[in-house]
């Protein structure tokens, strides 16, 4: 915590120092110092500089978690011209407080309404657009292909096939799923998929919008499905003490064979020593037949703070990174999907499969903790974690969530 405060202070200090130096400048606060994301971002900035040589660009790269805290300070105290942030309900507090600039005109002018049509709803609030996404990624089940092949298991297409695959893995002493719920959101990924496959996209949206109670029978049905995985011990033990990175270890050493995750995790599998032949991907299997297949596809985006000093340059930058060629190159580097439908997708097998999955989906959800308001998300995810450890407390958990829901959405 202290560390993040200090980083915040450092960022503010650098921003303050840099501010008065140039007249025609652009300050960008980015939130991912990991090698690939940083390289992708910096390449885009270099390309921008080459195109606009008279604009002097200053870049502050902050740690992701620190950025989440820092943004609340720098938006009002010392706003950059561009900041990285998340769409969906995550941008709601800043949009409502008038701290993000409405850029609907930019969407209109650059034709983003067409080229970003799929992702437009999540960038929209009060009928206006607030940011430009530069990347998004698919979720699904990453699995150990070598283990599946050894035991003669096919990629499951339905819930029954998934349960059969789990049973077979368990018989052979392999835990079907790895997961690390210390930071809670991983459990929300599982919940979202069970909900999307049991009830569909509408119910996901209505639940996160507070229109459906947690004690609703449809939501109970989701937990019943989840219980079918928990009770036979299909998730690894001790998941509450592990982060998502910790949970890669049992996956890498063959103790567990599947992982419900986002595509950003592929890098971690490779770093843990797995080769491309050992890992593969399949979309979360169907549960209720006939429910249109919706997917989780969280996006990362850039926004202009209302207090920015160089808004014209900021708009130039957003228009620039929305271009298909920039989006293609950037996402090629970071191994994710370009939100611009005119961009080309990298030839990595996970990106190809992800693109196939996402572009044919009936709807794209952001993620439980981005679609639901922050406070509800926190309580909900704690509930999911508790349920995974003590499934028999379901009633108490759902009642508690109803109580919180009533307070949050009023």
């Amino acid at each position: 915590m202290l560390k993040s405060l200090m980083r915040t202070a450092a960022i503010l200090a650098t921003a303050a120092l840099a501010a008065p130096a140039f007249a025609n400048e652009l300050i960008i606060n980015f939130d991912d110092p990991n090698p690939a994301p940083k390289a992708g971002f910096e390449a885009a900035v270099e390309a921008f500089k080459a195109e606009y040589p008279d604009i002097s660009v200053t870049v502050n790269i902050n740690d992701r978690e620190a950025h989440k805290t820092a943004i609340r300070n720098f938006l009002s105290a010392d706003a950059p011209d561009i900041t990285a942030w998340y769409p969906g309900n995550r941008m709601a507090p800043f949009v409502n407080a008038g701290q993000f600039e409405d850029i609907s005109d930019l969407w209109e002018q650059e034709g983003l309404n067409e080229s970003f049509a799929a992702i437009k709803p999540t960038m929209t609030m009060d009928g206006k657009q607030w940011g430009v996404p530069y990347s998004y990624y698919q979720w699904g089940i990453y699995y150990r292909k070598d283990i599946f092949d050894n035991l003669g298991i096919e990629e499951p297409k339905t819930w029954d096939e998934l349960l059969a695959a789990c049973a077979k893995l368990k018989e052979n002493g392999i835990t079907p799923f790895t997961i690390g719920t210390k930071f809670l959101w991983t459990a929300a990924g599982v919940f979202d998929y069970l909900n999307l496959r049991t009830n569909g996209y509408e119910v996901h949206n209505d639940l996160t919008a507070g229109k459906i109670k947690y004690t609703d029978d449809r939501i109970r049905a989701v937990f019943d499905k989840w219980k079918e995985l928990i009770e036979p011990g299909y998730f690894i033990e001790n998941h509450a003490t592990m982060s998502w990175q910790d949970a890669v270890a049992p996956f890498a050493n063959g103790e567990a064979a599947m992982y419900v995750m986002g595509n950003f995790s592929v890098d971690a599998y490779k770093n843990a020593g797995l080769t491309y032949d050992q890992i593969d991907y399949f979309p979360f299997p169907e549960i209720t037949p006939g429910v249109p297949r919706a997917e989780e596809a969280p996006a990362d985006a850039f926004f202009i703070p209302s207090n920015a000093t160089n808004k014209e340059n900021a708009r130039k930058f957003l228009a620039f990174i929305a271009r298909p060629d920039i989006q293609s190159a950037w996402n090629e580097t970071i191994g994710q999907l370009p939100p611009n439908s005119n961009a080309t997708v990298g030839d990595d097998k996970f990106i190809q499969q992800g693109f196939e999955t996402v572009s044919t989906a009936a709807g794209l959800a952001q993620f439980y903790d981005r679609d639901a308001p922050a406070e509800m998300a926190k309580a909900g995810m704690e509930g999911f974690q508790e349920f995974m450890i003590k499934p028999d407390r379901l009633d108490a958990i759902l009642k508690r969530l109803d109580k919180i829901q009533e307070r949050v959405y009023k």
Binding site: M1, L2, E65, K68, T69, R72, S76, P93, F94, N96, A97, Q99, T181, K182, F183, L184, E237, N238, H239, A240, T241, A249, D369, A374, E375, A377, K378, E382, G383, Q385, E386, I389, R400, R407
Partner: protein, 310 residues
């Protein structure tokens, strides 16, 4: 002749400036002023500010909405709050073990053996390293897959418990980790205290046939009273601000079962999913009231001591 050399001693109109006349009375206040100013601005005012905010619903960005006592009403109905409160009690009670444990380590180390300084430093070491590091070390230590605890359990053929993942053990696990540096702290307080124990009284006690437990209880301990007092004070403070260990080891999890009030406040008011400033302030106010009981006792004790000293 001599008369002329004497300064004016007759009472008459004092024509020195007001400041010069009252210099002696003003000087201490002048010296105190910077400290008092900062204390008021950074300690006293925020207390009242925080109590004030606790009557609002505020996300830290938009407009604050007056809600009166609603945040407190909600607290009464909040399971998480009771869990945190109970854990705070556990922390206060179990953390006190550091005081006797520190005393015994100090007594054990208070002998003249070659290399004693090295042993003393080794015992003191955990207090020197950061709480964050202690938290990390114990997190690995408790890990059922590769930690020491896991290894020992597996050696005896048992399934290792997931200490930090089980709501029954998690708080005890963190307190135990916290005790490690705290015992070292109490130990160093007692070691300095033992240096000041009067050898003549020990000798007198010995002549009267006191030894072992009796000697400790009736002769040594009374002389260690100042050390004991400070040890208890720092331990209580340590227990109430048991924040960093929890943040590092569990983040209050699993599902809030290792929360204490300080961390719960942080979580509701300032963490990624929080930003309910009003509710967080209400928790802070409750924590403040609990501390106030203890602080008043502490101030009262100080007052009595000062009075005795006069």
């Amino acid at each position: 002749m001599t008369d002329a050399a004497l300064p004016v001693s007759t009472p008459g109109p004092d024509d020195r400036s007001w400041y010069k006349r009252n210099r002696l009375a003003i000087a201490p206040w002048l010296f105190l002023a910077p400290a008092m100013l900062f204390f008021v601005v950074y300690v006293i005012a925020p207390i009242f500010q925080s109590i004030w905010i606790s009557f609002f619903e505020w996300d830290g960005l938009g407009d604050a909405v007056w809600v009166g006592m609603r945040n407190y009403a909600e607290l009464i109905d909040d399971d998480r709050f009771y869990t945190s409160l109970w854990n705070n009690v556990l922390w206060l009670v179990l953390y006190m073990l550091a005081v006797p444990a520190g005393l015994f380590v100090a007594l054990f180390l208070n002998q003249t053996v070659t290399g004693m300084r090295i042993y003393k430093s080794l015992f003191f070491f955990p207090f020197v390293i950061s709480q964050v590091v202690v938290g990390l070390i114990f997190t690995w230590f408790y890990n059922p897959n590769f930690g020491v605890v896991g290894e020992i359990w597996t050696f005896f053929g048992a399934t290792p418990p997931s200490i930090l993942g089980d709501e029954r053990f998690v708080t005890y696990g963190i307190i135990f980790a916290g005790l490690w540096p705290q015992i070292a702290y109490c130990m160093i307080l007692y070691l300095t205290g033992l240096n000041n124990v009067n050898p003549e009284q020990i000798e007198a006690g010995r002549l009267d046939g006191a030894k072992g437990w009796n000697m400790l209880w009736h002769v040594v301990l009374p002389q260690l009273r100042p050390a004991t007092f400070i040890a208890i004070v720092v331990t209580v403070i340590g227990a109430l601000r048991s924040f960093d260990m929890i943040a590092i080891m569990t983040q209050g999890g699993p599902y809030g079962s290792s929360n204490v009030l300080a961390y719960y406040m942080f979580e509701t008011a300032l963490s990624e999913y929080g930003f309910r400033m009003g509710y967080g302030s209400a928790i802070a106010t409750v924590l403040f009231l609990i501390m106030l009981v203890y602080i008043s006792y502490f101030l009262y004790r100080m007052y009595l001591d000062e009075k005795d000293a006069r």
